[in-house]
């Protein structure tokens, strides 16, 4: 078994009004210096050895992310360790 992390974010060129709203809220907390925020999704998958990298990429591209508006990163963690 392995733990796989898939992070999905709106593409940089797609306006992310939620991320912008979060960035503005930081200003109200008195935090300065945060230039930009993009809000996305974080998936944690527990997979067995039959799931190879190509299969993980297929899962990310065809289900977890929508390539029209999102980009993604697939990261494999060994034995639950980063």
């Amino acid at each position: 078994m392995a733990r796989v992390i898939v992070d999905v974010l709106p593409k940089a060129e797609i306006l992310d009004p939620q991320g912008q709203a979060v960035a503005r809220a930081m200003g109200r907390l008195g935090v300065s210096g945060v230039a930009d925020v993009r809000q996305g999704k974080h998936f944690v998958l527990e997979v067995d050895d039959s799931v190879d990298d190509a299969e993980l990429e297929r899962i990310a591209e065809t289900l977890l992310a929508n390539p029209v508006m999102e980009e993604w990163i697939v990261r494999r963690e060994r034995n639950g360790q980063s």
Partner: protein, 225 residues
């Protein structure tokens, strides 16, 4: 023979009852289809109605696009069966790959619920009864209605005359190029964010402008028979 138009219900669909009513107002028989169905019961066309299928989990329309009933819908659409996606139905057709682009959160982050004027810009299976250039008034009610696609796709859609509906004012949801609805290359699959099925009778909506989509497709089906 009366045309039979399927109306799909997913868990979380809201507007299937109004969509079926619009089909009947237009003079066709409405056939209820369930998300787990794998047989379209021989319908002549399909309406994918609005709502919040599967609670908008993952992305609006993402789970519904991969549900059992959508397999035969995609196959039939590729063979030329007319399909209309309204609101969440439009999101589902984009997620299923039948229509280009995607629908994302409104720029103002607010859910928009009001009447809006649209310009009809293309002659399709669902708009053949309208004059190109005419305007219709229908309700818009969505939180993720902002149409996006890359510039190349937008140019292609405009160049091929596949922008079917455009907001007659700056798009309140921030939709790129004010696009409210688009169609497939053969003009038989149409998706739009606003709700024609809520505007089929002045008693229950802003007017009857929306009925034209449903009568248009009947004209096309009869002409093809």
């Amino acid at each position: 023979m009366t045309a039979r138009i399927g109306v799909i219900t997913f868990p979380g669909t809201l507007d299937d009852v109004d969509a079926a009513r619009a089909v009947r107002y237009a003079g066709a028989e409405a056939v209820s289809l369930w998300h787990r169905d794998t047989d379209l019961q021989g319908v002549d066309a399909v309406v994918v109605p609005g709502g919040f299928s599967y609670g908008d989990y993952l992305r609006a329309g993402a789970i519904a696009a991969r549900s059992p009933v959508m397999g035969p819908v995609v196959d039939a659409a590729r063979r030329g069966m007319p399909v209309l996606g309204i609101c969440n139905g439009f999101q589902i057709l984009c997620e299923a790959g039948l229509l280009p682009g995607a629908l994302v959160r409104n720029t103002g982050l607010r859910f928009i619920c009001r009447e809006i004027r649209l310009r009809v810009e293309a002659d399709t299976a669902w708009t053949s009864g309208f004059e190109v250039g005419s305007a219709i008034t229908v309700p818009l009610k969505s939180g993720e209605g902002r149409f996006v696609a890359d510039a190349e796709t937008l140019d292609r859609l405009e160049g091929e005359g596949r922008v079917v509906f455009r907001y007659a004012e700056p798009a309140p949801n921030g939709a790129l190029r004010d696009i409210a609805g688009v169609c497939s290359t053969d003009g038989r699959v149409v998706g739009l964010m606003p709700h024609p099925e809520h505007a089929i009778d002045p008693l229950t909506g802003p007017g009857a402008d929306g009925l034209g989509l449903f009568t248009s497709v009947l004209g096309r089906l009869t002409a093809a028979a």
